[in-house]
């Protein structure tokens, strides 16, 4: 389990998600693919914070405590990405329900019909 293996896993998930977003018309499938993309980003962030030391540790002299703590900034980005992704999923599913009220199929081209 090296950094390259984890980054390849992340890149594969990202590409699969991009393919799903581009090639599906169903609104719910597009939301699922977006969740795959968000998860691939969190995997990359956690892998970087696990395998790469913060820059200040390698300097000479005293080590400030905040440099040791900054070994975990990838985790913080992961937490914020997860929170934003949860909000986005809830809003997008609300849009799906609103779309189902005006149209009988969930194609992404019909989203503009929600407006009226």
């Amino acid at each position: 389990m090296t950094l390259e293996n984890l980054l390849i896993l992340s890149a594969a998930l990202f590409s699969i998600g991009i393919y799903g977003v581009l090639s599906n018309r169903n609104f719910i499938s597009i939301i699922m693919s977006l969740e795959l993309i968000f998860n691939s980003l969190v995997i990359a962030g956690v892998a970087f914070s696990r395998f790469i030391l913060p820059f200040g540790i390698l300097d000479e002299g005293d080590i400030h405590s905040s440099t040791l703590r900054s070994a975990l900034s990838g985790h913080m980005f992961g937490i914020f990405i997860i929170a934003v992704a949860a909000t986005e999923a809830a809003l997008a599913l609300a849009l799906v329900f609103a779309l189902s009220r005006v149209n009988k199929n969930l194609n992404i081209e019909n989203v503009s019909e929600i407006r009226e």
Binding site: L53, E60, L106
Partner: protein, 215 residues
């Protein structure tokens, strides 16, 4: 604490194969309810990867938020709208999007293998090892009443950081808690605001339109 053994590599390869195949199932299956179930399986596999990376807090959040909330939300939406979304209609851009995603993946591969990552196992093998050696066996103040101890051995007591075994092993939960109320306090509060706005906006979008057009 996780050792870099052959056994852990084997588990990692198996779990990532499961993740990739389940995500391909999510994209290609026509029954959208089964796609939602496969998506939950993908999230569980990713949580296993987080636990293997010593990111316990992120793994627990992943299980709580993704497997527990988002997958259930997706399954509910699919069950409500199952008659509408009987089959995922393929787009006419399929070959184009296949080319795009394969190009993205290839460019990621080129980037990953051409950049010389300064990872910890590179440092262990090089002359920089004595820089890491100066870190061992000392206490460091973390600034909020806690200390951190960098161990030079493989066994890790509570609340420690070890850079010996090819990785930064750190008690992530307490440090994330300190982060959320110190350095990242503004971002934390903005996330709370975003969640409130998201919930209220979702309710407004979902609401049946009134006859007299008043909200």
């Amino acid at each position: 604490m996780i050792e870099n053994s052959f056994f852990m590599d084997l588990i990692f390869y198996i779990v990532s194969a499961v993740i990739i195949s389940l995500s391909i199932v999510v994209i290609f299956i026509s029954d959208i309810f089964r796609a939602a179930i496969a998506l939950a399986g993908t999230f569980l596999g990713i949580a296993v990867v987080y636990f293997m990376l010593n990111a316990e807090f992120i793994g627990a959040v992943q299980i709580l938020v993704y497997v527990g909330a988002i997958s259930v939300l997706m399954a509910f939406a699919v069950m409500f709208l199952r008659t509408l979304s009987k089959s995922a209609t393929p787009s006419s851009y399929r070959p184009f999007s296949l080319i795009i995603s394969v190009l993205i993946f290839i460019s990621f591969l080129i980037g990953i293998y051409n950049i010389e990552w300064k990872t910890i196992d590179i440092l262990d093998d090089s002359y920089d090892k004595n820089i890491l050696g100066t870190l061992y066996g000392k206490y460091y103040e973390l600034g909020y009443g806690e200390h951190i101890y960098i161990s030079s051995s493989e066994n890790l007591d509570s609340g420690l950081l070890s850079v010996e075994n090819k990785g930064v092993f750190i008690d992530s939960t307490s440090i994330i808690g300190a982060y959320l109320v110190q350095e990242y306090l503004l971002a934390f509060q903005i996330i709370g605001l975003i969640l409130v706005v998201g919930v209220v906006g979702g309710l407004l979008i979902m609401k049946e339109p009134d006859k007299d057009e008043t909200l």
